[in-house]
Structures are given as structure tokens and as C-alpha cells.
């Protein structure tokens, strides 16, 4: 088993050691749904580190005979275990492999100390730690190999939060059976971002992909705070049937403090289309791939990552099923025979209406 696996390169028998989140990121990539690139620090790495650290006995001793009803006791002992994990010696080659993978990510993107998100990734739905998947930690804007390793440890340590520890005692699960995979993924730095529907939200037309786009992070588009540019793209032949470039008065952008700020835009930037035709095509392709992958109309969030190279810079941030139009069954045909249909076409020609 490998300690570090790139999202899109895992084999079937490695799936279990990847955790749900990392594996699904890899599956999306392989389905033509580019997500920000990254790698998983597998459960195998976690286990090797735990076994190799020589502190297993110490952990067991710290938690032996814990009374889950004694809040103070739980807090003290869990904190002590987390301390052990944060400082346990990392057996080689695990540390070197994590550093190497991070370095490779930096080189691939050509950004030194590229900022990444470090997230815990639960192994499987029915494992004891799954109940706390949502509680495991996420660390954003992490830079540099040392910081990555330190935050991987913090994820590992999050297996021993007060609640996780009490829960396992109550359920009779072993503290040393739990495992943790950690996902290390590039932080997106969007030049433009927004949403896309795989149907026309105005009339439910399923042949259309509707894209809303604005400068910077997609928050303004999602919240409705910025009037976005809007593009309608045909799903099959890919032509752009309508473009509306709006005055995007402000944008959400990353400041030097690595916080997102609302900034006013100069008039010329407001009126500039936030996407090129090639970018529109790439987003439409991404939306179409998401729809195919999930088998129903989708509402996706996407971003155009300025760190990634042209042609590979559109990334999927989130996909969820569209719920308004997809529930309606549309029947256009009247069931009339061919001739009657032709008669009504001639008498009431659709083509003749004003567009």
C-alpha cells in the first residue's frame, strides 16, 4: 500500500485507504470533471506513522479506564493524546513522501509554496469514525512542506476530539482501530467564478447550459450580490446563443492577508466580459460532464483558477442536482399524426414569431 496517492491515480484495491472524499475527487477527475489537483495521505500512512512512532502503548494507557461521563477527565486525556500525535516522530519515508508530493504539486502548478487545503477524509460510511466526518478539521491556505505535515498531524489528531473519544467508549469501539486519510488539495485562486445550470433556468430548456460569471470568487454570484455576466451555450453543438455582459460593480478577491475581500472595480473592468469564448466552452463542457456523471440536470459551482494553465484552469467546486425544472415532465408533442402536425405547423408557424 502506498502512503501518498494522487487523487486520479488510485487503483480499485486502494480505494479503501483513500477515504470517501479523496476517492470521489479522483472519480470526478477521471470522469472529465476537473477538481483542484491534489493527493491523499492514505490510511496506510496513518497506520505506519502510528505503529512506527512507538507511542501506541502510551495512547492506550492514556485512555484506559476512561469514564465518558466525566467531562473534565475526557477533556484532559483527549488533549494529552492529541498532543502525543502532534509530536510523535514521523517514520521515514512517510514525511519525505508527503514533502515530495507537495513539491511535485508546486512544480506542476509552477507556484512556489502553493497554498493548499488540508482536510480529513473519512475512510468509509460504516466505520466508527464516520459519525464525526463533519467534525474533522479543514485547514485552508496552508503553505510549505512543514506546514502541510503539521496540518496532516492536526487532522490525524482530530480523531481524538472529546466527542470522538467519548463516543467510542460508549459504543465499545477500540480507539486504535480508527483510521484517517488526509486530502491535500490546491486552494483555488479564481480569476473568475460562478455557477452553471445544465438547463435554461428561465424556461427549462434542456438543450442549453446557462453560465453566470463574475470576477474573483463566486460568493457574489451565489449570493446575488453581483450582477454576473450571463452566457447561454448549446449543449450539443456548443454554440454561444446569447451573451449578456453586465456591469460587475465589485468582486470578491483574495487579499494579502489570505482573506476574501469585497473590492470595487474600475469601470472598464466592470464592462469587460469575465470569460473568453474558450473559457465559456470549457465551463459548458464541465457542466455537461457533471450532468452525464450524475445522470440528471445539475447546478454547479465552478472557478477559473489563475494558477492553472489555460485549457486546464476551469475547476469544479460543487455539483448538486437542479430541482426546479428537472421535476417537471415536459411533453411538447401533441400525439397528432404526422399530417395533422404539419397542418398546425403551417397554420400557426412557430418560426414566424418575433424573437
Amino acid at each position: 500500500m502506498r502512503n501518498v496517492i494522487w487523487f486520479d491515480t488510485f487503483s480499485a484495491d486502494e480505494r479503501a485507504c483513500l477515504g470517501g472524499k479523496s476517492a470521489s475527487l479522483g472519480e470526478l477527475m477521471n470522469a472529465g470533471l476537473p477538481v483542484p489537483p491534489g493527493f491523499a495521505v492514505t490510511t496506510h500512512a496513518f497506520r505506519s506513522a502510528r505503529e512506527g512512532s512507538g507511542v501506541v502503548e502510551a495512547i492506550r494507557a492514556r485512555l484506559d479506564g476512561l469514564d465518558p461521563s466525566d467531562v473534565h477527565d475526557v477533556t484532559t486525556r483527549a488533549a494529552a493524546v492529541r498532543e502525543l500525535i502532534m509530536s510523535w516522530p514521523l517514520p521515514e519515508p512517510i514525511g519525505a513522501e508527503i514533502r515530495a508530493a507537495y513539491q511535485q504539486l508546486c512544480e506542476q502548478i509552477q507556484v512556489a509554496d502553493v497554498p493548499v487545503a488540508v482536510r480529513s477524509s473519512a475512510t468509509s460510511e460504516d466505520s466508527p469514525d464516520a459519525s464525526f466526518a463533519g467534525e474533522h478539521d479543514t485547514y485552508l491556505w496552508v503553505r510549505g512542506g512543514d506546514q502541510v505535515i503539521s496540518n496532516v498531524r492536526r487532522c490525524w489528531a482530530s480523531l481524538f476530539t472529546d466527542r470522538a473519544v467519548s463516543y467510542r467508549v460508549e459504543m465499545g469501539y477500540s480507539h486504535l482501530d480508527v483510521e484517517m486519510c488526509v486530502a491535500v488539495q490546491k486552494m483555488v485562486r479564481p480569476r473568475a467564478a460562478g455557477v452553471a445550470f445544465t438547463l435554461n433556468p428561465g424556461d427549462g430548456d434542456r438543450s442549453t447550459i446557462a453560465i453566470d460569471s463574475a470576477w474573483g470568487f463566486g460568493e457574489g454570484v451565489v449570493s446575488g450580490e453581483v450582477t454576473p455576466d450571463n452566457f447561454l451555450v448549446d449543449k450539443v453543438i456548443g454554440s454561444i446563443s446569447r451573451r449578456t455582459v453586465s456591469a460587475k460593480t465589485h468582486a470578491f478577491r483574495l487579499g494579502d492577508d489570505e482573506q476574501v475581500h469585497r473590492v470595487e472595480l474600475a469601470p472598464e473592468e466592470q464592462r469587460e466580459p469575465s470569460l473568453t469564448d474558450d473559457e465559456i466552452a470549457a465551463i459548458a463542457k464541465l457542466a455537461r460532464a457533471a450532468e452525464r456523471h450524475y445522470g440528471c440536470p445539475q447546478d454547479i459551482e465552478w472557478a477559473l483558477d489563475e494558477d492553472l494553465s489555460d485549457g486546464a484552469n476551469v475547476v469544479l467546486l460543487q455539483a448538486r442536482p437542479e430541482t426546479v425544472w428537472s421535476k417537471k415532465k415536459v411533453v411538447v408533442s401533441t400525439g397528432a399524426d404526422a399530417m395533422s402536425s404539419i397542418v398546425s405547423t403551417l397554420v400557426n408557424p412557430l418560426y414566424a414569431r418575433k424573437s
Binding site: 438543450s207 442549453t208 448549446d234 450539443v236 411533453v331 399530417m339 405547423t345 403551417l346 418560426y351 414566424a352
Partner: protein, 604 residues
């Protein structure tokens, strides 16, 4: 924005063109006798087929075509809401006015007849179309056999010994009448299927627009477009001949610019002779191909102007030697068409609609080969023969001193030709001099003067009162005239719109480059590599220069115009029906052509 176009009765005769009305049949010009009807209607200039001034004889096909189209709507199939398309000539230009059935009860009463009559054609389409192909070939043969020979000094002896009892003068007059009758028959054949074909296509089109309101017109066209279309055959034959020339090592012969020299060089070697044999085989019928719409006697036909196809072959030879693969990617074209159909089909949210889609697509594909192919058989092949025969009559009259040259015959109205033939015949019969040249030569000069004056006039795109909504389906399909384009003309008549031009997004792609504005086929030699062609319209026979072009802009035509079909076939971005392309854009000006949106933007 004005709410109407000028009345035909407000239009002035250009200076020097006085008396132009006499050059056309009395029924085809606007007149006080029918003023109320004519002034109340909406007339648009048919630049798709007749962008230039008609000569008196060339008006024949115009009248025959419109009467035949109308006859099928009105009297054969009883298209419920549509009668014919009325036609007039104003200052030498062709204007059309679709005539609807105003009374809803009358529309209703026509429906059962339409169902029976059109239904029969739809049900038996393939068989009837096979019959049509036989009929049209028989017609071409009959036209080819028409003889126009000068009258002999004395009748041949067998006229006497066989006791025929008639002479050459009668034969000549009969031949001319026969030519007119066959021409009218040709135009009746032309519309035997066309209107119904468009009706079925419109039904498919309307259904998809309802299911997918934003579906591009182009996508619908691509689903039904054929891959093996006769209209592309002439160009394919040129490519084959170019490849053969290179393979058999006779390509050097084409270095000579003069087609006679090329032929002489080829005749000198066995390989060259073999090439010429292949050429002859391809030429009949495929090079009976006009470099224009086929509606003007002045259009040049490949087989009679060998410099045109030889020039194209020379260009193709150069490409073959550069290693270019000229073959059309047939398999890829089929695969792309299948992909488009499968993906839209998948997008329907109900099985009912998928079933209706399959059925309508099936019918549209049944009718479409006729829609795509008839143009070669009628406007190109048959018209080529008819123009040739007309020149033979012109030759006869020229030899008899009536004309300065054979083409002068096209300055006569079709019903004046029998008078001239009569003049010649009767004088020949009597043994005296015809009035002939003394009458016709100055008259032809006068008419040429009128024609020249009319050519200086710029025909407005429309006349009269536009309908609130353009509802006539054929007007939209064939001529690309919609409520939007009418509104655009009205706006432009104020001179307010100086920037972007809009038209039909007829073939996808976005390009920027220098414009090359040309007004007719005789100018296509001016086109240089990397230019965007701007023309009143293009002809299918211009396809060989498409390799040089970045894109095409036309003044007239809709999604289904021949220009649109050919541009899609050759993957060339195109915007058709811009109305003002050739008048607003200048050669050398940089423009941006967006074949996805249907816009043309001047960049400087």
C-alpha cells in the same frame, strides 16, 4: 422607425430608363389597374435568386418559377393558409409578395384536401422521387434535342420525296415553342416536391424549437442535412480529376493558363488522353454548373467556360502536391450527424417526445434529399441546356442579320422571339428581306441603354406595408425573411444603423480579417487567401475558392439558402441575409464575422 416601405407607385424611373415597363410582360409590372391591391401589399426584393436587373428574356424563368410555386400551393396541394407568391418587376428588379388565405373558414375548408393530396406525396415520397429523377433526365434529354438551325437555301430533297408537306420555318417556330413549354414543365417539376419538403422540415423545426427554445437553427439543419448531396458532386469531381492528374503525371499540362493549350498538351500523351476521357465523363452532367444562381443568361457555365473548372483543378493540383487530403471525411460527417441526433434525443424528458422526434426526423430526412438536390438538376443542369439552346436561336437570328451577337436574343421578351422568327421565316418564304436587323438592332441598343440605367439604381429591400408578423412559412424558409429582418430594414432605411450588421447564423465559427466585397461571379478571381468574402449571395459553384476564405457574408438568404448549405458543408463560418453587407462594408476593411451569433462587426 417608419412603419412602412415606399409604395411601388412612389418609386421613380431612373434617368435614361424611361419606358422600361415595355421590356417585361404587361402582367408582371405594377399598374394603376391594380393599384389598390398592389399598394396595400408587402413586396420584398428577391435577392436570393434575382439580385440583378432582369433582361426581358431572363424574366421568363422568374415568371415561370413563381407561377409554378404558386400553382402547387394554391391548386395542387391546397396548402391551408397559403396561396401563391405574387410577383412583379420594378425598374428591372424582382419583387415578391406572399398571398395568404385570409378567411379562417377557407383555411379550414382547405385542410381535408391538403391532407389527402399532400398525404399521398408524403406516403409515397421515395417512389415519387425516383420517378422524378427519371422525369427530369427525360426532360433534359428532350431539351437537348431541340434544334435551332438556320433556314436552308432550299428544302432538302427528302422533304419532297417523303411528301412531308411542311418546311423548316415551321420546325424552327415549333422548336422555340417547345423550348418555352419544356421550360415551364421544368419549373412545374421543380415545385412538385419542394413546398411539401419545406413543410415537413418546418414541422420538425417547430417541434424542436418548442422542446428546446434556444436550440440553434444550425443544429436542426445539421440533423437532416445529407452527406452525399448531388450539389457537392461537381466540386468532388474536380478534386478527383486533380488527384488523377497528379497520379498519372499529367498535372504539368495545367501550368498553361489557356484551356486550349492545356487540352493540346493532354492530347499528346496516352495518359493525357485517359485524363480527358475521365474529364468528359464527369462533365456530363456535373459541369453543367453555373457560377451564379443559374437564373441569368450571363451566368457562366463550367462546361462552356472551361477556364473556370481548369483553374479550380490547377488550384487543387497544387494542394494535392502539398500533400493535402482533398477527400471529404464522409465517415466523420456521418458520425457527427449521428452524435448530434443522439445527444438531442437524449435531452427530451419524455418518451412521447422522443417518439415524435424520431417520426418527424424520419420524415424530414425522407424529404430533404429533394430539397438539397433539386437545385443541381433544375437551376444548373437544365438551365444550362436551356441557355445553350436559346443561344442557338440567337445564332440563327444573328446569321440572318437581326442581331449583332447571339446574346442579343435575351433583350427580347419571350413572346417577341416568335415575332422575330416569323419575320425571318416569312421573308425567307417570300424570298425577300426581313425587316429584321433594321427593326431589332436599334431597339436592342435602346434596351441595353435602359438596362444600363436600371443597373445604376439601387433596389430597396422591400416595398409597401409590412405584415405585423411574417407568418408565411416559405417566405421565412426560402428567403430568410422574418419579422426581425423586416424591422431591421425599416431601421436601416432611416440610416441610423451604422455599426453591427445582423443576419442568420448560417454556419458556425468566429473569424476576423480583411473583407473582399464582390458583386458577382466574374469577380471571384479577385479573392485572395485569408479574406472574408462579402457578396450579395454565393453560388454552390464557388465552393472551390472556399479553401482560401476565412468566412462568408451575404446580403440575402436564410438558413436553407444554397449559400448556407454549402458553407456548412465546407466548414466555413457564414452570416447570411445581412441585407446591407455589400453596401456598408468596403474591400480591405477589417471585419469580425460571428457565425454563431449571426453578426458582422466592422473593426475599422
Amino acid at each position: 422607425m417608419p412603419d412602412r416601405f415606399p409604395s411601388p407607385f412612389e418609386i421613380q424611373t431612373p434617368p435614361g430608363a424611361e419606358g422600361w415597363e415595355q421590356l417585361y410582360t404587361y402582367s408582371s409590372v405594377f399598374s394603376e389597374d391594380r393599384r389598390e391591391y398592389e399598394e396595400g401589399g408587402f413586396w420584398f426584393q428577391d435577392g436570393v435568386h434575382w439580385p440583378e436587373v432582369l433582361t426581358p428574356w431572363d424574366a421568363t424563368f422568374y415568371e415561370y418559377a413563381l407561377a409554378s410555386l404558386s400553382q402547387y400551393n394554391t391548386r395542387h396541394y391546397l396548402i391551408p393558409p397559403a396561396l401563391g407568391v405574387d410577383f412583379r418587376i420594378l425598374n428591372g428588379y424582382a419583387y415578391l409578395s406572399p398571398v395568404g388565405v385570409a378567411n379562417p373558414a377557407e383555411v379550414e375548408a382547405r385542410v381535408p384536401h391538403f391532407l389527402e393530396r399532400a398525404g399521398f406525396y408524403f406516403q409515397n415520397w421515395d417512389r415519387l422521387y425516383d420517378d422524378w429523377l427519371v422525369k427530369i433526365r427525360a426532360l433534359v434529354k428532350e431539351m437537348s434535342e431541340i434544334e435551332a438551325e438556320p433556314l436552308p437555301e432550299k428544302e432538302p430533297i427528302d422533304v419532297v420525296t417523303e411528301g412531308r408537306g411542311t418546311g423548316s420555318g415551321l420546325i424552327l417556330q415549333e422548336s422555340y415553342h417547345k423550348l418555352l413549354d419544356l421550360a415551364l414543365r421544368l419549373w412545374q417539376y421543380h415545385f412538385e416536391f419542394l413546398n411539401l419538403g419545406y413543410a415537413a422540415y418546418l414541422d420538425f423545426f417547430g417541434f424542436l424549437k418548442q422542446a428546446f427554445p434556444s436550440i440553434p437553427d444550425l443544429a436542426i439543419a445539421k440533423m437532416v442535412a445529407g452527406v452525399d448531396v448531388d450539389l457537392f458532386r461537381p466540386d468532388e469531381e474536380l478534386k478527383k480529376l486533380a488527384r488523377l492528374a497528379v497520379e498519372s503525371g499529367v498535372d504539368g499540362a495545367f501550368d498553361a493558363g489557356n484551356p486550349d493549350e492545356v487540352r493540346d498538351t493532354l492530347r499528346a500523351t496516352p495518359a493525357g488522353q485517359a485524363w480527358l476521357e475521365q474529364w468528359e465523363q464527369a462533365a456530363e452532367p456535373w459541369f453543367n454548373f453555373s457560377n451564379g444562381s443559374g437564373f441569368y443568361h450571363s451566368d457562366r457555365i463550367w462546361i462552356e467556360n472551361v477556364d473556370i473548372p481548369f483553374g479550380f483543378i490547377r488550384d487543387y493540383i497544387a494542394k494535392v502536391k502539398e500533400g493535402a487530403d482533398l477527400a471529404r471525411p464522409i465517415a466523420a460527417l456521418h458520425a457527427e450527424r449521428d452524435r448530434i441526433v443522439a445527444e438531442y434525443r437524449e435531452l427530451f424528458s419524455s418518451d412521447e417526445d422522443r417518439e415524435a422526434f424520431d417520426q418527424k426526423l424520419g420524415l424530414a430526412r425522407t424529404v430533404f434529399p429533394y430539397v438539397e438536390n433539386h437545385n443541381f438538376y433544375v437551376e444548373h443542369w437544365s438551365h444550362s441546356v436551356l441557355w445553350r439552346k436559346m443561344r442557338a436561336f440567337g445564332d440563327v437570328l444573328t446569321k440572318a442579320g437581326f442581331f449583332g451577337e447571339a446574346d442579343d436574343i435575351f433583350l427580347l421578351k419571350r413572346n417577341e422571339v416568335p415575332d422575330a422568327l416569323w419575320d425571318m421565316y416569312s421573308a425567307w418564304a417570300v424570298g425577300t428581306e426581313p425587316r429584321g436587323g433594321k427593326y431589332w438592332r436599334p431597339e436592342i441598343e435602346r434596351r441595353k441603354g435602359i438596362r444600363a440605367a436600371l443597373r445604376e439604381w439601387s433596389a430597396p429591400p422591400a416595398l409597401g406595408v409590412p405584415p405585423e408578423v411574417v407568418t408565411e412559412p416559405f417566405t421565412v424558409m426560402l428567403w430568410g425573411i422574418t419579422s426581425d429582418s423586416v424591422a431591421g430594414w425599416l431601421r436601416a432605411s432611416e440610416g441610423s444603423d451604422e455599426g453591427e450588421l445582423s443576419g442568420f447564423a448560417a454556419s458556425p465559427g468566429v473569424v476576423e480579417g480583411p473583407a473582399r466585397v464582390i458583386f458577382g461571379a466574374d469577380q471571384i478571381g479577385e479573392v485572395e487567401d485569408g479574406e472574408i468574402l462579402v457578396a450579395p449571395l454565393t453560388a454552390p459553384s464557388w465552393a472551390p475558392i472556399f479553401g482560401k476564405l476565412l468566412g462568408t457574408v451575404t446580403d440575402v438568404g436564410g438558413m436553407m439558402s444554397h449559400a448556407a448549405i454549402v458553407c456548412r458543408e465546407y466548414g466555413l463560418p457564414a452570416v447570411t441575409g445581412t441585407a446591407f453587407g455589400t453596401s456598408r462594408i468596403k474591400t480591405g476593411q477589417r471585419i469580425r464575422l460571428d457565425g454563431n451569433k449571426g453578426t458582422v462587426t466592422p473593426l475599422d
